[in-house]
Subunit: 195 residues, 2 copies
DNA sequence: CCTGGAGTTTACACCGTGTCAAGTGAGGAA
DNA sequence: TTCCTCACTTGACACGGTGTAAACTCCAGG
């Protein structure tokens, strides 16, 4: 179970992620096979189908970055407000790579229920993180009285999505600094409420 | 040029939109032809290719709803703040149909430059609307001093996207009322700024 | 009458996915 | 050494999607 072990499986996953991260959008099984130095058929010896391969690639990518560890950092923040900053921060750092993965999954999700589920599970994890932070802010008395923790979590979750990141940073050319400060301001002014 | 005229072209476009709005995601030329009561080849007599057809369908949909008229309503609002409410309101009403169109375009945009451009043009129109509203809010002295009109417009634009609407209303089950009040609060508290 | 336009059928080339059958080659066990 | 097995290769196929082409039908207008 050494993480450095080079199995055929890991070579395929590496090749897949390499293609995804290179921004190559239409990725065929042939392309992946070529990238991994294998025949197209060899992919089907390890993975049931394309969706199966991509789901494995998703988990592989999550494992390679320390997603769990990153999320622990959010939990370790001193206050709920700091945790919110950490969420925005994490999103600013991870979104470039995430966006590519999301794009690669876009086609597959519509056709394959398992791929859709894998993607939703991942979103669910992020939502769970947002919920915890919203609960902390509430517990610390920083949440406007007329907001529920649920509503706060949902809105934090949706505004810190990689789609919004893409709109602002990629499409509108914001730099990372602007993204972080403005998103934190946006959410905090709403959560704490004073107007 | 009667808008009620039933040409082959309009029958094809109707059929296409009907399939898109029915939530049918994988739409093939065969399916459209069947829906329109024509042979698959007939589609190619009117449209160069699938992207061409979908771009026409996009414009057709925009024309059928009075998009231009709707946007005039935003301009007609008494204050910049009212205009912002109108934007959120419009988005709440149009997003269900928009989201379907966006999904149908998702696949095409990656492959066809013209389809990508048509979609971007449309996004650009909405951004332009946000810019005008941001400028009005600024002119009326309601914009926080440390915010530029550009930044305000960008953030209004990205948080009122149909993706955020989908996240909140479809995925998180918000009702229209919640979506509208919370989004307006979110944006106004940030724009006017007091914390 | 006959011509052209709109639409039809049938066929093809090309590509992507997924399956199948037969072959190869290297390493381990007897 | 021989034999077996496992991982992998090659080549073929069915299926479905896009886009092109040729030939046929049908009908209205000159």
């Amino acid at each position: 179970m050494s993480s450095e072990e080079v199995t055929t499986r890991s070579r395929i996953l590496q090749a897949t992620l390499s293609l995804i991260e290179r921004g190559n959008v239409a990725i065929s099984m042939s392309t992946i096979a070529k990238e991994a130095g294998l025949s197209r058929q060899a992919l089907y010896l390890t993975f049931a189908d394309k969706a199966d391969l991509f789901i494995a690639a998703l988990r592989f990518a999550d494992g390679r970055r320390g997603i769990v560890q990153e999320q622990a950092c959010i939990r370790a923040a001193k206050t709920g407000t700091d945790a919110l900053v950490a969420i925005v921060d994490l999103q600013a750092r991870l979104s470039p790579a995430y966006k590519r993965l999301a794009d690669a999954f876009e086609l597959l999700r519509r056709q394959d229920a398992a791929a859709e589920k894998a993607w939703q599970d991942r979103q669910q994890d992020r939502l769970e993180g947002c919920r915890i932070v919203a609960a902390r802010i509430s517990a610390e008395g920083d949440l406007r009285a007329d907001l529920t923790v649920e509503a706060a979590a949902d809105l934090i979750w949706s505004t810190t999505s990689s789609t919004v990141w893409d709109d602002l940073v990629v499409k509108r050319g914001w730099n990372e600094m602007n993204y972080r400060t403005h998103l934190v301001e946006l959410l905090l002014s709403w959560l704490k409420g004073s107007s």
